[in-house]
Structures are given as structure tokens and as C-alpha cells.
């Protein structure tokens, strides 16, 4: 029951969290900014609009946003809520999790190519290039956790990750840094992408969805924010001790997720967006962190300081 309530709150909160980022940026820039719930108004506005669909597109273009939102929601249900566990879980579920996120991205790339626009082609090419880096690194992150806990399901991994002996803080810090970079990349945030720009040539995610309007666009915007929330939940899973009673655990969980988004807002306020050709360098930082975490975990488990 508690899990159902938690999942419901998670499903409705991503837009609020994105509003939070905008609020932080506005305050930093000396403006009052739009209300935190503005993304909900935008969502409702888009849901009430009609759609214009390019005549040169195939059904792929039509179904992509729905497939994207469905796959991402499914991925959310595999991910455990701290202490409460997940809706679906089985051995190796994190592989399905990664591929569900991958599928959501894949259909969007297909849809972008489907429009035949040169802009969207560029965007798709960039998205795929950076995904190859991020997805690989994500498997190393999960691999490190599996190695550390000897479990192969999200729920059991996170149930035991906080039980493992004292060396885990180092691994955890590296994994958290890794996940934060993943969040910036997958959520199309600065320094990887600039969600506020109107300059098509510099965009990655935004340019892929140029042809969408109405409810489909609302779905896409929701999917992106949900994806960011999912990664923030992964970070919270790593941090909330599994022995905490449910109510304080959920409180801590909420605080962590909100802090992650505040941090994203702070990063966006403080640094400029990276040059496109330098973004892989930034993403390889994620690879570096996760490989280091993996090495540390392996070292202690197999070699070990006796």
C-alpha cells in the first residue's frame, strides 16, 4: 500500500522537480522566476492542444512519444523505492531497466530521423554518440554494485548495499558522481545540453523533438523529467540505509531527490555549456568514476587488504 502511494507521488513529481531547477536558476539570475508548478501548467496546456504532424513521417513518428513514456514508466517500476522495494523484480532486472531506457531513446532517435530534417538528423547523431558512452558507464555502475553485494536484482542490491563493510563509502561516492553526470547527460542539462536555447544548431535533445506538438510534446517533456527523477532515485537508493523505518526513510528519500535537483539548478547557474566536441570528455568522466568504483570493489573483494 505504502509502495503504491510512493510510486504515485513519484509519478506526479518529476514536473515539480524540473520547476525547481528553473526556480533555482531564476533566483540565481536575480529574477523572481515562474512558479515551481509552471511545468504542470505547460503540460496541461500542451495536453489541450491539437497536433500538427508532418506529412512526410511514418507511424514511427506517431507512436514514438507514447512508447517512450511507457518504457520509461516501466523502468521506474523496476527501480526500488528505498526500503519499500520495487513493483517488479527478478534476477538481472537491471538489464531490462537499462534497455527500457535505451528503447525510449531509440524510438525518439528513429522518430527524429523519420522527419528527414537535417537538424533532427544532427541531433539524433549526437544523442546516439553520447548514449554509447553513458550506457556503457551505467553498466559498469550496476556491475560494481552487483560485485559489491553479490546480488543481481535492484531490490536485493540496494537492500544489502548499505550492509556491506566499511569500504563502501569510497565506492558510493564514485558511483554517485557517476550517476550525477548521467543525470545531466540524460536530462539534457548544462554542460551537456542547453534546455533553454532556441539555437537549433547547438541542441541535442530539443532539436530531435522540433516537429512535435500538443500531447506528444507534453509526453516527451514529461519523459525527460521522469528519466531525471529515475536517476535521482537511483542515487537515493544508494544513500538511504535499508534498516531505516519506512516513514523516515521516505522523508530522507524525498530530501535527497530534491537536493539532487537543486544541485542541478546550481550547476546550471554556475557553469557554461561545454563545446560539443568536448562533451565526450565530460562523459568519459562518468566512465572513469564508474571504472574506478568497479576496480575498488574488485580489489577489496578479491585481492583485498588482509
Amino acid at each position: 500500500m505504502l509502495l503504491a502511494v510512493a510510486e504515485f507521488v513519484i509519478i506526479i513529481s518529476p514536473l515539480f522537480l524540473v520547476g525547481l531547477i528553473s526556480k533555482v536558476k531564476a533566483l540565481w539570475g536575480g529574477r523572481r522566476g515562474a512558479p515551481v508548478v509552471q511545468p504542470y501548467f505547460d503540460f496541461l496546456k500542451l495536453m489541450g492542444k491539437g497536433e500538427i504532424i508532418s506529412t512526410v513521417t511514418s507511424p514511427v513518428f506517431r507512436i514514438a512519444p507514447s512508447v517512450g513514456i511507457a518504457a520509461t514508466l516501466f523502468a521506474l517500476f523496476i527501480l526500488p523505492v528505498p526500503v519499500l522495494g520495487s513493483v517488479f523484480h527478478f534476477e538481472g532486472d537491471f538489464v531490462l531497466f537499462a534497455y527500457l531506457l535505451g528503447m525510449a531513446k531509440f524510438v525518439m532517435v528513429l522518430a527524429a530521423l523519420d522527419t528527414g530534417s537535417s537538424f533532427e538528423g544532427i541531433g539524433a547523431s549526437r544523442e546516439v554518440t553520447y548514449s554509447t558512452i553513458v550506457e556503457t558507464a551505467f553498466f559498469v555502475v550496476i556491475g560494481s554494485l552487483a560485485l559489491l553485494t553479490s546480488h543481481f536484482s535492484f531490490e536485493t542490491i540496494f537492500a544489502s548495499v548499505n550492509m556491506v563493510a566499511g569500504y563502501s563509502p569510497l565506492v558510493k561516492i564514485l558511483l554517485l558522481a557517476s550517476l550525477f553526470i548521467m543525470l545531466l547527460a540524460e536530462g539534457s542539462r548544462v554542460p551537456v545540453d542547453d534546455p533553454n536555447t532556441h539555437l537549433e544548431l547547438t541542441m541535442i535533445h530539443e532539436v530531435m523533438v522540433l516537429d512535435y506538438s500538443g500531447p506528444d510534446l507534453a509526453f516527451i517533456q514529461y519523459t525527460v523529467s521522469l528519466k531525471m527523477t529515475i536517476i535521482a532515485i537511483l542515487m537515493a537508493d544508494l544513500l538511504v540505509p535499508s534498516s531505516t523505518p519506512p516513514i523516515p526513510a521516505l522523508g530522507l528519500f524525498a530530501v535527497i531527490v530534491v537536493s539532487v535537483f537543486l544541485l542541478v539548478g546550481a550547476v546550471e547557474s554556475l557553469i557554461a555549456r561545454s563545446r560539443i566536441s568536448h562533451i565526450p570528455q565530460f562523459l568519459f568522466l562518468m566512465t572513469t568514476f564508474s571504472l574506478t568504483a568497479f576496480a575498488v570493489a574488485a580489489f577489496f573483494l578479491f585481492g583485498g587488504v588482509k
Binding site: K25, W28, G29, G30, R31, S118, F119, G121, I122, S125, V190, P191, D194, N196, T197, H198, L199, E200, L201, T202, E268, S269, L270, I271, A272, R273, S274, R275, I276, S277, H278
Partner: protein, 495 residues
Amino acid sequence: MSWLEVVNLQAVPVADIPVLPMDELRRDTIEKIRNGQRLALFFGERTSAGTVVYSIIADDSASRLHIASSNLRDGMKFTSMTPEVSSAYLFERELYEEFQIEPVGHPWLKPLRHGIPGIDEREKQYGFFRMEGEEVHEVGVGPIHAGIIEPGHFRFSCHEEKVYQLEIKLGFQHRGVENLFVTNGSHPIYLEKLAESVAGDTVIGHAGGFIRGIESLSDVKVPRKAKLIRTVALELERIAVHLGDLSALSGDVAYLTGNSVFGALRTKVINTTMAICGNRFGRGMMKTGGVGFDVTPDLARKILGMTDRLDEEAGLAAEVLFSSASVLERFEKTGVVSKETATAIGMVGPAARASGVAVDVRTDHPFGGFEFLPVHKLTLPGGDVFARAYIRYVEIRQSIKIIKEQLGGLTDGEIRQTPSALRPKSLVVSLTEGWRGEIAYIIITDDDGKIRRVKVKDPSFNNWFALSLAVRDEGISDFPLCNKSFDLSYCGFDL
């Protein structure tokens, strides 16, 4: 035959301008430019017998302008200068479009703005540059853009993310400005308003350029006070736009702090302009014979107070912007235009000075308040986006100093003289350093002292080609940043 030598804003009888055979005009022009002078203008005027082509060469180090002309009958051709003188490239295309005089041997002859009358574009294609090859792709941007931007078409030939060639097609906002000056010549107020709207972001610069030209033709003596007020207005415009550009450059690299701070500072400056003339962009400020609005000692103190605070605040903001590693990563070594290229294609204004070319009309051909108080030319060596951003900051500081000097010289007195009739059959060259660079107005009067021909040249005309060259071999995603670092006018080009 020697060319006529004049200074900026010196009206001369048209009859005094030497008429050379076209070959000689061409040869002399090429020779002068080889000797380090600059092609300021190369334009035509339709006459009953054909077309008169004028060549105006600026000798910046001597503060002189050289003028000569040549008569061409309809259907005549001439040998193109472009292979020898790159800066003639657009001027010759313009001549070809307006008067159908073909420059033979021009490397890339095609229409410039509105197309050639009588030639159907569907039959004779514009002829974009094309690159062939596997995995080569073309990206066309515009003329309709996202956001509120003027229309222009940019066609990139790319391989992966790298731009090999950018072709810029403009002309979507052609309004026939030069013609409007002539057809409405009898309404002085209309003309001032028209000059203000040639490029909406350079109100003081364009109106000032035109009005000074008219004044030189009409012997009206502009009061000293008016000249000082005009200079203050011009520099306020420069500061405001430069601040806006720094804000926009920060925005283009998603650097929030610079974006908000410089944007806020700009508001203070344009509000000061509003305090003088009631319009934030300086409309109504410039009047033939003087200025429309007085600067009282009280107002002068207010302006000085604003500039003092601005000096400090802009300094702080610039320190943050230009020391931020993530910003420098984007600005440095992006969109480099070398000094050789800048000189060859005849760049002007801050963009040229950022490439190390020392051209500044305020120093080279002083006008208005700059006759009393000279300005130092500032240059930077880099030629990249950083240099074009930093030169703006340096010029903001310089303009603040100029405003202080000019306001210091303010005395009681008249601010406006009544304009008088224009001298017949005369020509004047009026050069102005707008915030974007050299604005040129050529005004020619007929037998009755009516305006017969106005030639306008916005600095964008010189600099658009530099943008094409700047993005070569750059990533396509850096184009918007390069574009903003030049911040060129579409309507100023389209006329």
C-alpha cells in the same frame, strides 16, 4: 588623372570629381588598395545615358578620402576587381544586381538582395555553393528562425559536425531604403525617421550619419553643444548594444550569470538614453541642425552618476565572465578571423579591431564631437570569439571615458540651428563609427538642390562575409556563438 581628395563630411561639387575611363578607375583602385588604403565604397548611380560608377577609397592614416568616377553606357561590362581586391566582392555583386553591369571574371557572380529584374529565379537559379561527397550533408537554416531574429538564410556544407563552407543569403528585408530617401526628399522629418530605421539597433549611428551629410551639404553650422550631446548619445548607444551583446554571448553558451548581469546593466543604459530623449533607442534624438533634446546640467550629473556606477559594475561582471573557465573554453580559439583575412575582405568596426586591424572612424575620419576630443584606436590580436567579446568590454570602458570628457565640455548654448537649403549638384561622403563599425552615407544633390541619390552602407555589409570565413572548419554547433560575436544586421544589409 589624379583623384579628388576630400575629408570626411566635406561637400564637393559633383563636377569636381574626376571622370576616368573604367579601366583606369579599376587600375587606380587596385593600386591604392595594394598600397594599404581601404575600399570604402564602390557604387553606381543611374543617369539618362547609363550609369556612373563611383569609387571611394579611404586613406585612414592620412584622414583623407579619394573619389573618382567613371561613366558606363548601358550594356557595358568591365573587368572584375575581385580577383585582385577581395573587398570589392560584394560591391561588384551589388553593382551587377542594381545596374546589370557585369564584372567580367567575378568569381561568384549572383544577385545580392532582391534579384535582378527580368531574370526569373526559377529559370536562373541562385546557385548555392555545393559540396559533393559521401556523408557530406547540407544544413539550411532560415530564413525563418526560432526566436525573434531577422530573416536570413544560412546554408552549411558539413561533414559530420564540421563546417566546410557556409553561404549566407540575405535580402529578405529589402525595403528600397536608398530609393525612399530620394522619393521622399522633400520631407526632412520623414528622412530623419527613415535614417533612424535603416537598422533599428543603430538609431543614433545611422540618423547621425545621414544628418551630418545633409548638414555638410547645407552649410548649417551645428552648435558645439549639440555636437557634444550627439556624441554622448552615440556612445550610450555603443555601450548599450555592447552590453546586450555580452549578455547574449553569455546566453548562447548557457552562462546564466553573465546573461542576467549584462542584461540588467544594459537596461540602465538605455533608460539613460530615454531620460535624454524619451526613447530607449534614441529615436527623435538626432535632428538636422542639432539635437532634439537638451542635456541640462542636472541631467548631465545623472548621466555621469550612471556611468560611474556602470564603470564599476561592468568591471565586476566582466571579471567574472572572462575568468570563468567554462566560458573561456567556448570563447577562446572559436571562429578565428586572421588579421590578413580581415584586412583583405575589408572588415570594419569592433570585429575588425578584435582581429588586430586598427580601423576606427572616430580616429581616422573624426566627425561631430570627436573633432574636439580624439579617440585612441583599440585593437586585440586574437580574432576569435573571445577577442570580439573582450573588445566590447574594452570599448564600453572607453565609451564611458568619452562620455565623461564630452559632458565635461558641455556649456550653455544653443542646441539646434535651422536647416537651410542644400547646395545643388554636390556630393558628400559622411562616415560614422556606429557601434558595429563604419556607417557610410553618400548624398548627391541635383541641379535644384534636391536629393538625387543616397548610398547607404551599413558595417554589416563589410562583415557578413567574415562570418562565413570564421565558421570554416569549426563545429556547426559553434555557429550561433560566432554569429552573435559579430552581431550583424540583416536589415542594415538588405536596405
